[in-house]
Symmetry: C2
């Protein structure tokens, strides 16, 4: 039985995490300088190898947890990358994962600990290996799904104003939206609930805080913006 496998060769399998966050009206991605060879000092995504006793999904969650201290984060696979020489050291197949996090859940000291920075998605430097392509693909997927899945709420606090929500959409889509039309569409989505709470930080007048009702969504999972 093992003879079937024996004639073939094994390779390293890794995961790379594309972590998106939203801050100061911009969509950001977590990048750091590689602290190991090969590629030491180059800008790069944060990744890790898949262990013997974990699935690739589990490996991605483990790497993300190490990176952010966060569990139960929205994450999805982007694609597998398998060019022969994509890693200059060894043959490594890497599976890219895209995560969406709320920047204010993130402990800042972890940034320093891992030597990471939030980089604006339209100011991404040349990265190690094929990581630029990974990010590009993740962004394309994000744009494709943002209107039919409730993804944007992963980038915001539990309570958010409609202006914040609109800014997230604008940052992801890369275009400005009409305020009245946007709010009209939001009103039609009954999983987005207005609360009695008022946010006084963002404006003098104060803005109503909204919340995404995850429970209602689970029972009736439709979402069309």
């Amino acid at each position: 039985m093992t003879a079937f496998y024996a004639e073939h060769n094994k390779v390293f399998v890794a995961v790379d995490c594309i972590v998106f966050g939203f801050d100061k009206k911009k969509l950001k991605v977590l990048l750091g300088k590689r602290q190991m060879d090969p590629g030491r000092g180059e800008w790069s995504l944060y990744g890790g190898f898949v262990g013997e006793n974990e699935s690739i999904d589990e490996a991605a969650y483990r790497v993300l947890y190490k990176l952010t201290g966060l569990k139960h984060i929205y994450m999805r696979q982007v694609a597998a990358f398998g060019a022969v020489d994509r890693d200059p050291g060894e043959r490594v197949v890497s599976v890219a994962y895209c995560a969406l996090i709320n920047v204010s859940d993130y402990q800042e000291d972890l940034l320093k600990k891992h030597g990471l920075e939030w980089v604006d998605v339209d100011a991404i430097p040349k990265l190690f290996s094929d990581h630029n392509i990974m990010i590009k693909k993740a962004l394309t997927l994000l744009r494709m799904h943002i209107n039919s899945e409730p993804l944007c709420f992963n980038l915001l606090p539990d309570l958010f104003t409609l202006t914040q929500l609109q800014l997230v959409y604008e940052a992801i889509l890369g275009e400005e939206l009409d305020k009245r039309n946007f709010r009209k569409r939001i009103k039609a989505i009954d999983t987005i609930e207005k609360t009695e709470l008022i946010d006084k930080y963002s404006s003098k007048r104060g803005a109503a805080l909204y919340r995404f009702n995850r429970r209602m969504y689970q029972e009736y999972p439709t979402f069309k913006l």
Copy 2:
């Protein structure tokens, strides 16, 4: 430098091909009975291991060529599958690829040679390992992209009638479409050209044959149905 890799372990990486075809008004997928252990005799997709000196994309094209004798086939990655015990014999990470072929380009003797059959997509048996999930995911992707990319022409001969085209859409979407509305939308797509040729096989009256102008599409790659 190799110390960085040494502490980690390698795994087998394979590709599995989901080959879709269209025949007799139905969307079909190529399936066979496994001729090796583990899983001998179970229904399965056709796959192969990724070699030392080929990318995973190249491996997928190689496997597809071996299977069909065809090159320059439309193919795209579906996803990587990496559960620890997905292969009962060894740890194998598999990358699923979806291919679209024109059944009439396919030499029938290859079916027998590889012990394969065209199986209707809504009559797929229980398959080896996670192959059912792979097909489901491939179908979802296909449905998502069929209206914004010119994929359907890969399932048809160069020359086709509008009825054939509509049947392909109906098979993929799994619902019936209105003939007049469908044809109206097709007329609005200028990369789909009517020829002077008439197909006399499908009906007594004869039906105009159309062709997809790939060159025009390459110059101006938009497609909205």
